[in-house]
Symmetry: C2
Subunit: 122 residues, 2 copies
């Protein structure tokens, strides 16, 4: 499949896919004329990448953990595995932050609702 097809299947822009390749997150085979071709598997890979981006990992960090995706059996992915654990913790901390923020907003919402109830009693 060509890049436009992959983009639409994975729900990202063509620009992003080229960027991922540039960053070493994605590889492609090239047709004689230089066009990128992908296998169906790449759709899932792109989705995973998107998921990690959404979780706040940078390209650099994703590159670092990819060995755990591509060759989990390699002994040389110790660093990658360590990184994986770190990122898991970071995400957990981030979730806690978001929960705190949501609580703060909930308190604000309650206070405001109370005031509103007073203003328009009916």
């Amino acid at each position: 499949m060509r890049i436009g097809e992959l983009a639409s299947q994975a729900g990202v822009s063509v620009r992003s896919l080229r960027y991922y390749e540039e960053q070493g997150l994605l590889t492609s085979t090239r047709s004689p004329s230089g066009q990128r071709h992908y296998t169906d598997d790449e759709v899932e890979r792109v989705r995973l990448i998107q998921c990690l981006y959404a979780a706040g990992l940078s390209s650099r960090t994703i590159v670092e953990v990819l060995p755990c995706v591509d060759s989990p059996s390699e002994r040389n992915s110790d660093e990658a595995f360590e990184r994986l654990l770190q990122e898991r913790e970071r995400i957990s901390r981030h979730i806690d932050e978001l929960l705190q923020a949501r609580d703060a907003l909930d308190r604000l919402i309650d206070v405001n609702r109370a005031h509103r109830a007073q203003l328009t009693p009916r």
Copy 2:
């Protein structure tokens, strides 16, 4: 209290405080010589702002919801209140994303642990 004191108490940089003021998130009284002075309350306000930033709100968005913090009884904060609800939802969705990403990492971690156990049986 002056800006350096507020910065250290709230755990942010002086630069950030000036930026918050520039964005309309924070106000200060000025001494005759032009130096900013703050009340103790501002510490909490800055912490709230930080919390909202951490939750992914932009300066612009924080400005929009601030009426709910400063004058929850004003009827004219309808837009602000609406925004507050929107952001709460956005945060909830973001939490879901992070949970999904964490699950994905957990699966990766499991797979890698399994491989590792095989490689070094002892």
